[in-house]
Symmetry: C2
Subunit: 193 residues, 2 copies
DNA sequence: GGTAACATGTAAGCGGTTACATGATTAG
DNA sequence: CTAATCATGTAACCGCTTACATGTTACC
């Protein structure tokens, strides 16, 4: 039985359980989307249009179990892992394959070609890259409480994953700051001597 | 006139000119693919199936100029930027918009859920992440001579972009190594005391 | 009373990959 | 002689995003 990566994301978050309010393991599609935005967004994204059909498929395959749990008149369908679902998740985690890493960064791309434009434009590029990573950093710090909740439940890896994300963006901040200085020094060499 | 990001990648590499053998500015679709693999792969990828149709479109729009330049009986179609193409590239570079950054990393994803499995599996995950980035680092170092060629032509940003890529992967190597040690210490607490 | 958040879904489209097809040339 | 590289393309498919549709509840 072949599952898409998105399927495993859903299984994984159902296992982690609610990130913000610790009810029990059961979660809605909406909750999953919110959790992804809170903890995984830096390295993975998933849209509602993927989540809902995927949950249906997973239920048909017996990897998750859903039940209606409306709040008043507001529809709400919550899911939890079956033992088959947990097994599928663990099999995926242990699977011995080199995991795919894909980065698509328009900013780096523009920087690569920045010799075609004035240094001022390049500096702007570097600055906006830096600011983007600074924002990502505070987003990770903002998601830190969510990690703490996981940790309270005995899950230590959400915070560790956040650490890696933070290190990546810190590296970008440091390097772009350095390059900004370098390019600016070339722009105004009149000041030297 | 709206262009896709892939279109700008092609324009950008045509402007940079040949990365490995400095002929003149003209380049084939095949060359573009090779250059991307050599210098931009860490943060952007593009497949032949995108390049060839896009070159045709760009020629129709007058942003590139192509001519046949066969090597013996082997077909070869080389392109160079028109002044309109150069202008389009510069407009894009200077355009004031927050550039999109998208990361899709299965390894990080697995790590996020690693509490579901034995610590040994998590350590394996961390190790393969580290090795992946170590490989990326040597790929960047391997592409360094290509950057030097650009620099010889007066283009300084290819190397600078490489510096950022290297910093990112160095950060991953450092952080995963640290986490490996941390998890291993928890696995074998018997040794303590 | 209005806006934001909660909540679930569908349809269309597109950007991109995989696989295939074809053939020439060079290096070992 | 054969494998690798050079070189250009097409067709099919698919994962994913955007946009849309719909209604509820909480909060200011």
């Amino acid at each position: 039985m072949e599952l898409s990566t998105s399927a495993y994301v859903i299984l994984g978050f159902l296992r982690l359980g609610p990130i913000d309010e610790p009810r029990h393991g059961a979660r809605s599609g909406y909750d999953i989307k919110r959790s992804v935005d809170l903890t995984a967004r830096v390295f993975w994204n998933i849209s509602p249009a993927q989540i809902y059909p995927e949950l249906k498929k997973l239920e048909e395959e017996g990897l998750v179990r859903g039940r209606e749990e409306p709040h008043g008149k507001r529809a709400r369908r919550v899911f939890e892992l079956t033992s088959e679902g947990e097994a599928a998740l663990q099999e995926w985690l242990a699977r011995d394959e080199t995991a795919a890493l894909e980065i698509r960064d328009e900013a780096m791309l523009k920087l690569l070609f920045a010799d075609a434009v004035e240094p001022e434009v390049a500096i702007k590029l570097l600055r906006s890259m830096r600011e983007r990573s600074e924002q990502a950093l505070s987003a990770i710090v903002g998601g830190y409480p969510a990690g703490l909740i996981s940790e309270a439940k005995g899950d230590k890896f959400p915070i560790r994953t956040g650490l890696i994300g933070a290190a990546i963006h810190q590296a970008i901040v440091d390097t772009t700051r350095q390059l900004e200085a370098e390019v600016m020094a070339e722009t105004a060499p009149a000041k030297a001597k």
